[in-house]
Symmetry: C2
């Protein structure tokens, strides 16, 4: 039931994932049964490989996460994650209310041994291969140990899922020197430095897009602001190109071509390819998608979840962090 285009986009994406897996995957569609079945019918999708599990309640995108989870015990988020905990599903995927999926993942699945704060990480485009920014918005007030954990979990995720053997881990701060930073990052720097990670020290705001680090560690307050700032750049430039093109004919031509170039380049950076952000540090596999997730994004999230299960990301995290 999650996301702006639910349940249509979710049902279609799930069907695509089942099809692409060649029967290897089965997907349980959790939500309001009648609406889901209507979608299945409308899309002409046969039920094969898909089951429908009824959930009477829906946590809306604008609901306050903790309150909504309490008030709506029969939500698709709670029921789906409950199935995962009970072993009736090996992973969970949602394009719903980010805060609610995140809280419910921690509450229902529990934390892995040694993890103080489960987190979410997001892939961001760089001049090279994408960087994994962690925390992407889950934990706003962090202690140094939490940032250290984000570095460990991020590094394992990138190694395991993106096949980068020894990812460069950078701590997002305000100067390269280890004496630069705020109270929390200064201490986190020391923890990361004395770890077995490939820690390259502090990285600055300008280093993210350069691709200086494969894993960029920050608290969720900074991570959320940087990600949202970055997301707003294309619209800003588009507006600039448009106002530039309002001049004479040659400006019009340059402006229009520049806009089209921008559109193409941005398409290459499409979030849909990345297939959602993983919740790391919980006893299970839970992936949160963009509210605007298309069928393609949903499909990729499901396939990504399957990969996380097979590659045992969680086993590696627990191994690294347990005392």
């Amino acid at each position: 039931m999650g996301g702006d285009h639910a349940p249509g986009a979710v049902v279609a994406g799930a069907a695509d994932a089942v099809r692409e897996s060649g029967g290897r995957l089965t997907v349980a569609l959790v939500g309001q049964q009648e609406r889901i079945e209507r979608e299945l019918k409308a899309l002409g999708i046969p039920g094969s490989g898909m089951t429908v599990v009824h959930a009477a309640e829906v946590i809306e995108m604008h609901d306050a996460p903790t309150a909504a989870l309490k008030a709506k015990k029969g939500s698709s988020i709670s029921i789906g994650l409950g199935m995962h905990r009970e072993g009736r599903a090996q992973g969970f995927v949602s394009a719903g209310n980010t805060g609610a999926v995140l809280s419910a993942s921690t509450l229902i699945l529990g934390r892995l041994e040694g993890v103080g704060r489960p987190t979410i990480g997001a892939l961001v485009p760089t001049a090279g291969s994408p960087a994994f920014l962690v925390d992407a918005g889950a934990n706003v007030d962090c202690r140094p140990r939490h940032l250290f954990e984000f570095g460990v979990m991020g590094s394992i995720y990138v190694t395991t899922m993106l096949a980068i053997p020894s990812p460069r881990v950078g701590l997002l701060s305000i100067g390269e020197e280890e004496t630069k930073g705020n109270e929390v990052t200064l201490e986190a720097h020391a923890l990361l430095k004395s770890s077995t990670l490939n820690f390259i020290g502090n990285v600055e705001g300008r280093d993210i897009l350069k691709g200086t680090a494969d894993v960029v560690v920050c608290d969720g307050f900074v991570g959320n602001i940087v990600l949202k700032f970055g997301e707003s750049v294309p619209a800003f430039l588009k507006a600039r190109f448009t106002s530039y093109a309002a001049g004479n004919l040659s400006r019009k031509v340059v402006g229009l071509i520049a806009r089209s170039g921008l559109r193409t380049v941005m398409k290459e950076l499409d979030y849909q390819e990345y297939g959602g952000v993983p919740v790391l540090g919980v006893r299970g596999v839970s992936i949160i998608g963009h509210g605007g997730s298309s069928p393609k994004a949903i499909k990729n999230m499901i396939l990504r979840a399957e990969e996380m299960i097979h590659r045992q990301v969680n086993g590696k995290i627990q191994e690294a962090l347990k005392a």
Copy 2:
């Protein structure tokens, strides 16, 4: 002596400012006398309206601010700000080590009554008129009261210097609702809300470039990261356009035109026009320029300083913040 192109660019910019003021301004060039005089000669600039004040020592861009100020008491920064404190100059401008100018401004000039933390603010381009982001990197660990002060000082600066009568003040956070944020911003929100400012509530990372707020309040850790991230966007896009243009001929044409369009649009956002970032909250006028400041940037910083003096920004800040 400050900046990557010192003293040449500084001397040339100062001469331009004196010339543009039509004799209204006099500039004291503080630094190594011999080198400055050599520049004056090389540039063919007559001494009129400019004096040279010898300062034997130079704080380099990479020096640690506090240590450098202690070790180099005869630096151009200390001597120049000393002249300002003693009334032998009405304002101070430097393209040198940002941390050193900032510390020295607070130490030598002192804080205005009611100001806990002097700050620096930077103008950033938006879809509309530029927004003033404050703190731009001076104070990394802030208390709620400090963020409140940044809002007050930023609002006064924008009203007085940019002629926006009732600037919209936004608190940079991770959601529009006042319940969203970290511990510090949640408390700062309450302080700003109960003030007489035109406080529009929280703004998100995506709102900065949209121009939702005229004044964007944040701590210097977040401010520095956002500003540096933003500065890195043009180079990132340029690289993307270039790799796009490496394809067939039509891609080449689109890529090159898009790059040129980008260059033009970015020129409009040139930091040199803005003329440096003001130190707010000190008993004096002190403006810090980009390390790469050109003569034009230096000239605009000097003219900006003169404006700040005439429009009595400090008097207004003290009026608003004193108990």
